[in-house]
């Protein structure tokens, strides 16, 4: 017969104020299997825990039920207590009579019987608790960082500096990401390239970092400590080992197409490096635009390549790497400002977006840093910066604030005023948001020192009049309609999750929110972890943020990875799926339901009427299984179960609550 001890916590007056704990204790004493009941002021306190240990020893308890707060708060605490008394920690069960009872009810008359219901349900479950043992897995001491923008580079450098190998994956031809496109960074006006490119070079040269550019994530299998990642190395058209990066191929290539890196403000070739400081300094061949691939003739690049590095017949290749941890730093897309038809983007060439402005104002950009209107290459004398294009607009865009646009648009206005001394800069805003160190000061400087004119109102229309662009808006501070005439308009687009974020998330079995941003495990306390152990987040893939926050998050993710990789082994949670091979019919309908690909067919042999026969059954990979239990419902045989949440335990809770007579053999 099992011997259950029930410990009822008062939690000061938190529980005892609403629940008659004495009465619950009195009733609990009569429950089958219960041999010890005791009340404590604070069960989680040291004397409270000591009382449990003492009772386990004195009363020879083999099951322990604590009725107190939420198991999400103290289950781990009490498991340790029980374990310290020499009992298997999974013989412990908890009844949540605080959050789910005393705190939400006011009437002792009804709260007390409910508390007793919760206690006896926990006792019924505890009677069926089994001894479980944690397993351990070996950790592959290597990390994968997906995306080599500033977040990915920072995370990779931190992990590599700690002495672990890192594979840095980037789907573009070069690392650097969005930050490489920027000119100066707020609020210090550091040159973005000047602070980024040395880091890019460090990443490329670091002995612990292996760089795969022009490569994509194909598949992720495995689990924390033991991921197997398949990477697609897209055909570059160039033998990277032979290429010297001399750039002759680019200069000779006859094809010109708009440059993605320059956001269409400049041109590039069909064989190209996105920008001169690209890392690695190796061009890629853009087959969609290459004359040879279109017509079968040309090959000029090949003719001029002294290193003989051009490869027209190169094909994509797949490589497999084993890593113990993954940092996802896949960045963001920009809101398509065309969706605001009334702003005339695409219709008026001098309406551009903020990233295009970055390229215009950038000394290494297509205009050598001169702010020129795309229409006539003249320097505009007036520019309007429009905030929240797609942000904070439930109708056309997204509900959230993109966080960085106020600051970079203020920076743009300052840069414009700096370069065009007699120019006028207008910022159309809904609210100026400057939560950051020295941010508000930067905003003040723009208004006071640079004479940037701030207008609170969202333009309703932008149209052309006499060769100028007119912004129609309501100045909501003055409460009257206004029109402002300018020569150029810069729209600040919302930061969006990558359009393939859902696919990335599904490849890695991590969750994402309604916008496509990847979900952290806890918004406050686990901000860089995901719900899939071993996978971490850095940068805007998790939600809009600026460069300082991105770098901070990247280093945080790196420190989590370093912590993980510093161990040789790690313990695994035993509350996972298990198969009764005797019951399993081998239908494997559980397999497609498993989000972790943890179920495989396994051939077993057994003796039937003296003959050895083999058959297939489902087998659970304990490293992959996370214990969700979806498989158990697909299993009609009743062969699949979750330790700690078994069918028997859950049915026992239902039956105990509603009062069924269970046969003695099932209860024992």
């Amino acid at each position: 017969m099992k011997r259950v001890g029930v410990f009822l916590c008062w939690c000061g007056s938190n529980i005892a104020g609403t629940v008659d704990v004495g009465k619950v204790a009195e009733q609990a004493r009569r429950l089958p299997g219960v041999v010890h009941v005791e009340e404590n002021k604070y069960t989680c306190s040291e004397p409270g825990q000591a009382a449990i240990v003492k009772a386990i020893k004195d009363q020879r308890l083999d099951r322990v039920v604590v009725a107190s707060c939420s198991p999400r708060l103290h289950e781990a605490t009490f498991r340790r207590t029980v374990e310290s008394a020499g009992l298997n920690p999974y013989f412990f069960e908890m009844a949540n009579v605080r959050e789910h009872c005393s705190w939400i009810h006011t009437d002792k008359e009804t709260a007390t019987p409910k508390a007793f219901d919760l206690v006896r349900m926990a006792v019924a479950k505890a009677l069926r608790n089994e001894a479980l043992t944690r397993g351990s897995i070996t950790i592959e001491k290597r990390a994968l960082v997906i995306g080599a923008g500033i977040a990915g580079i920072q995370a990779a450098l931190d992990i590599a500096d700690a002495g672990h190998e890192v594979i840095l994956l980037e789907r573009e031809p070069t690392i650097g990401g969005r930050m490489a496109q920027l000119d100066k960074t707020f609020p210090t006006l550091d040159c973005s390239q000047c602070i980024l490119t040395p880091k890019m070079v460090d990443a490329a040269k670091h002995p612990n970092i292996t760089l795969y550019t022009w490569s994509e994530l194909e598949k992720v299998a495995g689990y924390i400590g033991n991921f197997t990642v398949t990477i697609r190395r897209k055909a570059r058209g160039v033998d990277e080992t032979l290429c010297t990066g001399c750039g002759v191929c680019q200069s000779k290539c006859p094809v010109k197409v708009p440059s993605e890196f320059d956001e269409g403000m400049g041109m590039r070739k069909a064989i190209y490096s996105p920008f001169p400081q690209a890392v690695p300094n190796r061009p890629v061949m853009d087959r969609a635009n290459c004359t040879f691939f279109k017509t079968g003739k040309c090959k000029i690049c090949e003719r001029f390549c002294e290193a003989k590095a051009i490869r027209f017949d190169q094909e994509d290749s797949l490589i497999e790497v084993k890593v113990g941890a993954i940092v996802t730093a896949t960045g963001f897309d920009l809101f398509k400002v065309e969706k605001y038809g009334e702003y005339g983007y695409g219709l008026y060439p001098d309406v551009i977006n903020s990233l295009q402005f970055e390229r215009l104002v950038n000394a290494s950009g297509p205009t050598d840093g001169k702010i020129k209107k795309p229409s006539d290459h003249e320097i505009p004398k007036s520019v309007a910066f429009v905030l929240c294009v797609g942000s904070r607009d439930e109708q056309k865009g997204t509900t959230y604030c993109s966080r960085a646009c106020c600051m970079y648009s203020i920076k743009h206005a300052i840069q414009f005023r700096d370069k065009v001394k007699d120019g006028r800069a207008y910022v159309f805003y809904m609210d100026i948001r400057t939560p950051g160190k020295s941010y508000e000061e930067f905003y003040k400087r723009a208004a006071v020192d640079y004479g940037v004119e701030f207008i609170r109102g969202r333009p309703s229309k932008i149209f052309s009049r006499n060769g100028k662009l007119v912004l129609k808006a309501e100045d909501t501070l003055l409460g009257r309609p206004i029109e402002v005439e300018v020569e150029m308009v810069v729209l600040a687009p919302a930061m969006l999750a990558r359009n393939d974020a859902a696919k990335i998330a599904q490849t890695m079995s991590i969750s994402y929110d309604g916008y496509g941003f990847l979900n952290e495990a806890h918004p406050k306390l686990r901000p860089v972890e995901t719900n899939t152990a071993g996978i971490f987040l850095a940068g805007v893939c998790q939600g809009p943020k600026d460069i300082p926050d991105t770098v901070a998050q990247a280093s945080a993710a790196a420190s989590k990875v370093i912590g993980l990789l510093s161990h040789e082994q790690m313990a695994t949670e035993p509350m996972i799926a298990r198969v009764s091979e005797a019951l399993c019919s081998g239908c494997l309908w559980c397999k497609p339901i498993c989000p972790y690909q943890a179920i495989e067919a396994k051939t077993i042999t057994e003796k039937i009427q003296g003959k050895v026969v083999s058959r297939e059954v489902a087998a659970v990979n304990s490293g992959l299984c996370q214990g969700c239990g979806a498989c158990t419902v697909a299993c009609r045989d009743g062969a699949m179960n979750i330790s700690g949440f078994t069918n028997d335990q859950l049915l026992a809770e239902v039956d105990e609550l509603l009062g069924a007579s269970r046969p003695a053999c099932a209860a024992e």
């Binding site: 939420s70 949540n96 998330a505 899939t532 969700c628 069918n647």
Partner: protein
């Protein structure tokens, strides 16, 4: 029988979102009726329709399943499987003569204590209006 004479609603709540959401409601002292008894499960995808049939068979006046919002599942897809299964089950229960208000499914996140309290209040009210149905135990 359950100790109280009030209608009893069995709640199957996923550990990661809804159970935590119910905790938040508690932490926020959001007063609720006493009808719901929560059974913690790892995921709404763990809830076997047989558990729900069993609860009704043994006299539950209502059953409530609550999990993470779609796309927010701790296990990434468990609630999508649950959604399908329980959608079919809901119609099935109705067909078997169990009033639709007696079985509900909700998505409550860890931060939605307010929503959880509201779910409990409104469902308890609906189930109370139906009365502690004597039909259920005799039907099943």
């Amino acid at each position: 029988m359950a100790t109280s004479q009030e209608p009893v609603i069995v709640g199957f709540l996923c550990n990661w979102c809804s159970y935590a959401g119910a905790d938040s409601a508690g932490t926020g002292r959001m007063v609720q009726p006493t009808n719901v008894r929560i059974i913690r499960v790892p995921c709404s995808g763990r809830v076997n329709p047989r558990f729900i049939l069993r609860a009704f068979q043994r006299g539950a006046d209502g059953v409530l399943v609550s999990g993470c919002h779609p796309n927010d599942c701790h296990y990434s897809t468990g609630n999508f499987f649950a959604r399908r299964r329980l959608l079919l089950l809901k119609r099935y229960l109705e067909y078997l003569g169990i009033e639709p208000a007696r079985f509900e499914t909700h998505w409550v996140s860890a931060s939605e204590g307010q929503k959880w309290a509201e779910v409990v209040r409104s469902m308890a009210e609906r189930v109370k209006a139906l009365g502690p149905s004597p039909k259920l135990p005799s039907l099943l």
